[in-house]
């Protein structure tokens, strides 16, 4: 087989595979489909050429060239059509013209091959080539000039314009297009040279085998890959292997006579052994040269990739979650020189990814969101894809495929000002995402970058999981310690309260008795000053009595939560419970002062709990809400203010009852929120007599005695919402 046939065979194989890949991976992108047609045309050129250049008869060779010319005519047309599509240009008239021209040439090619390309002649002692002469084929020259100069240069110019206008991945892909078209252009003109000038061998046909592949790679492989890297790697590969395989060849051909004189009959052993040895060490040499070349070329990148690798190895040692997340953000931003980076971690309770750390070198275009909901398109995409997500890629895909979901993902990425998002998975769980901004240098993220980020993300995931575990453990420890402390306090409180109560009781009796005596002797005549003094004493004794009652309330309040256990747990009806709690407030709240809106279904499941304790809880909540609303009424004096408590309730799928009480009261001041559940803390005015134990006792009763949960949200001047979770009775 001669070289031209070999190059044609190569074209057929390469383009065949490429067309196949393009058809299955087009992803409904019209320009990819267009490229597959162009590649098919190249395939046809190769096939026709293969038939023509291996044909033994003249007739078959003419037929082969007719087939090959389908490719010759259609390649520039389809390429041009592709470029227009790729650059989003609409030129229907222009397309109509070139397709019509192509049809005309095709008709001539099939009906008058003799006058179109001049039939065939045998050249280089190897194959039949076209036999064009000035006299015969004017049309052929017209085709050559219009398609291979005007059309191709026009398309090429369009590509260049597009290159300067585009950014991101697309710009990178256009680089491949330009490189590919240059190679194709050279290949084609080499072939025409053989036609127009005698004695030029069409070696350039090999270039045609390469060009669709390069472009195909550029458009199909959406992954970002630096073209310099590809060229370097391919270059080194080709150079290393041609050297390794070339040396034995040269040895065999050029040094044959010398070898025969030295080794005699078994001269062939020398090239054989050399090639075996070289083939063995070849991969090592290749890797070595590649490493050296890349470390020279990509010195900067290597530096930060190494830093990141080292950093990720050290991460596991950090147990504090806050420190860990800010370290990740800090390292990534600083070493890769990014505009910013953020770390979001999953929060089981509210099913959201919360912003845990942020580090930025530049002012961000918009404030990054505090949370990313777990049920958004972005998180779905990350979970599905499981690899770093590149914003450029997503935007392009979204645009090309007109995919609504991807557009949503794209919008979310833009909101985060993200260039890349790295997911951190532990097993199947997405524990967090690391959001990276653009590189300050304006360079692109490369495949290698993403590989390093993936390592970083994996290490980070482990470290985060570790830190979570450690935090959990610390919390459990603290809870155990607290429980123990509470048990001790409980025993102490019991004895203490008895003692204190007795003192109060006695004090009350002493005061009461003296008061009683004073009252009885009121009518006994005494001097005025004594009378005045008696009034003072009476007042003082009344104060003692008041303090005794209040002290008693405090002791009682404290004792309530030291009592534990599930004794007296039964099915409690929410409606009845609220009725009972409201009954307790009767002495304080007059009819019409407060509206209660029960916004729950009457067929809710029952609560599992102690009625008396829960009654106490709801009484306290209603009482607090009422006080807050009265305070607002007094302070703000809004004309249309209404005191309303809204009670909502629902059963959760996990067998719990969720009850929400919202009021329209003063709300809680930011500075008071921290101390809300602390015993003896009260914001109520002394005239309203707050013991500061209400919420403290509520929390204990619900969380410790019932295994439930109390949470609240409050906005000063707007109102408070208390959310209670209690076990449902099954």
């Amino acid at each position: 087989m001669h070289l031209l046939a070999l190059s044609n065979l190569l074209i057929v194989v390469m383009c065949g595979i490429l067309v196949f890949l393009l058809r299955i991976r087009s992803g409904k992108r019209p320009f990819v489909e267009m490229w597959s047609w162009a590649s098919l045309a190249v395939f046809v050129w190769g096939l026709g050429g293969l038939i023509a250049t291996t044909a033994l008869s003249e007739r078959l060779a003419v037929f082969g060239w007719q087939i090959a010319h389908i490719g010759t005519i259609l390649i520039p047309v389809l390429f041009s059509h592709f470029v227009l599509m790729y650059c989003n240009l609409k030129k229907s008239a222009w397309l109509f013209l070139i397709y019509s021209l192509a049809c005309l040439f095709l008709v001539f090619n099939f009906c008058f091959p003799e006058s179109f390309f001049g039939g065939v002649r045998f050249v280089f002692n190897e194959f039949f080539y076209t036999n064009w002469t000035e006299k015969k084929g004017v049309l052929y020259v017209i085709m050559y000039i219009s398609f291979y100069w005007i059309l191709l240069l026009y398309s090429f110019a369009r590509l260049l314009i597009f290159f300067f206008k585009s950014a991101g991945v697309r710009r990178n892909a256009v680089k491949y297009l330009i490189l590919g078209s240059c190679i194709g252009f050279l290949g084609a003109h080499g072939n025409f040279l053989t036609i127009f000038v005698d004695g030029v061998y069409p070696y350039s046909n090999f270039l045609i085998a390469i060009y669709p592949v390069i472009i195909g790679y550029g458009i199909v492989r959406y992954r970002l890959m630096d073209i310099t890297l590809v060229i370097t790697r391919t270059g080194i590969f080709v150079a290393t292997y041609s050297l390794i395989l070339g040396i034995p060849f040269i040895l065999a051909f050029a040094g044959r006579s010398w070898l025969t004189s030295v080794l005699g009959e078994s001269w062939w052993l020398a090239p054989l052994i050399t090639s075996t040895v070289l083939a063995t060490v070849g991969p090592f040499i290749y890797l070595y040269i590649q490493n050296r070349a890349e470390s020279k070329l990509f010195h900067e990148r290597r530096r930060y990739q190494n830093t990141l690798r080292r950093a990720s190895a050290g991460m596991g040692r950090i147990k504090d979650l806050r420190r860990l997340t800010s370290l990740i953000a800090h390292i990534v931003t600083r070493t890769v020189r990014l505009s910013h980076s953020m770390v979001y971690l999953y929060n089981k309770e509210d099913k959201q990814y919360g912003l845990r750390a942020i580090k930025s070198n530049e002012e961000l275009a918009n404030q990054p969101p505090k949370v990313i909901d777990a049920k958004t398109a972005l998180i779905d995409e990350i979970k599905k894809y499981r690899r770093p997500i590149v914003t450029d890629e997503v935007s392009q895909k979204a645009q090309d495929r007109n995919d609504e979901k991807l557009k949503e993902v794209d919008a979310q990425l833009k909101e985060l000002c993200a260039a890349v998002i790295i997911p951190t998975f532990v097993d199947e769980k997405l524990v967090g995402v690391i959001v990276l901004g653009q590189k300050l240098s304006g360079k692109m993220f490369t495949e290698d970058d993403l590989a390093v980020f993936t390592i970083l993300a994996n290490q980070a995931a482990l470290a985060i999981e570790n830190a979570f575990f450690y935090e959990d453990m610390k919390e459990t420890h603290e809870q155990l310690f607290k429980a123990e402390k509470m048990a001790t306090i409980g025993t102490m409180a019991d004895g203490l309260s008895h003692q204190i109560n007795n003192r109060f009781h006695a004090l009350g009796f002493i005061a009461g008795d003296v008061l009683d005596t004073i009252k009885m002797k009121k009518n006994v005549p005494v001097p005025d000053e004594i009378k005045e003094m008696m009034v003072d004493i009476e007042h003082a004794l009344h104060r003692i009595e008041d303090n005794v009652s209040q002290g008693g309330d405090i002791v009682r309040g404290l004792l309530k939560y030291t009592r534990k256990g599930e004794e007296g747990f039964a099915a409690v009806d929410l409606d009845a419970l609220i009725d009972a709690a409201l009954e307790m407030t009767q002495f304080k709240i007059k009819p019409g002062q407060l509206a209660i809106m029960r916004e729950y279904s009457r067929d809710l499941p029952k609560i599992k709990g102690n009625f008396t304790q829960l009654q106490e809880v709801f009484f306290n909540l209603v009482d607090n809400a009422f006080d807050a609303m009265m305070q607002r009424k007094e302070e703000l004096k809004e004309p249309d203010f209404k005191a309303i408590i809204r009670i909502e309730a629902e059963a959760t799928p996990s067998g719990k009852m969720k009850i929400v009480l919202s009021d329209t009261g003063m709300g809680i001041k930011e500075e008071d929120k921290e101390k809300l559940f602390t015993p003896f803390f009260t914001t109520k005015l002394s005239s309203r007599k707050g013991t500061g134990l209400g919420l403290f006792v509520i929390q204990r009763l619900i969380e410790e005695n019932h295994g439930g949960k109390v949470q609240y949200t409050s906005e000063h001047m707007k109102g408070t919402q208390v959310r209670i979770t209690l076990p449902a009775y099954s």
């Binding site: 008895h498 109560n501 109060f504 009796f509 009461g512 009683d516 009595e545």
Partner: protein, 119 residues
Amino acid sequence: MSKLLIVDDEIDIREFAKRFFKKRGIDVYTASGGDEAHEIIQDQEFDLILLDIRMDEKTGVELLREIRESGNNVKVIMVSGIEEEDMIKETEALGVQGFIHKPLVLDELEKIVLAELKA
């Protein structure tokens, strides 16, 4: 004259309650503990007993049980510090007129006691 027995281990409570009710023409006796009270009850009859539940040597509930076991149906008001549900149930079974919770101001105690004595 109505006869009232106050059982409490706190001397101040006994003393001042005694003074208070004496002024209302009630014959008041006191006992500082279960055993002392037991002896007094065996000697004479009372119209009402104010009985503290939690005392050092013998609890009010134990004393109440002894009283009832000896066939005495005297009226009893229990004085308790904390509302112990199980104790309330137990004393209710033994028959009492009511409960009062410490601390209590004398005026209110007076109302309860006088109402009980009149009944």
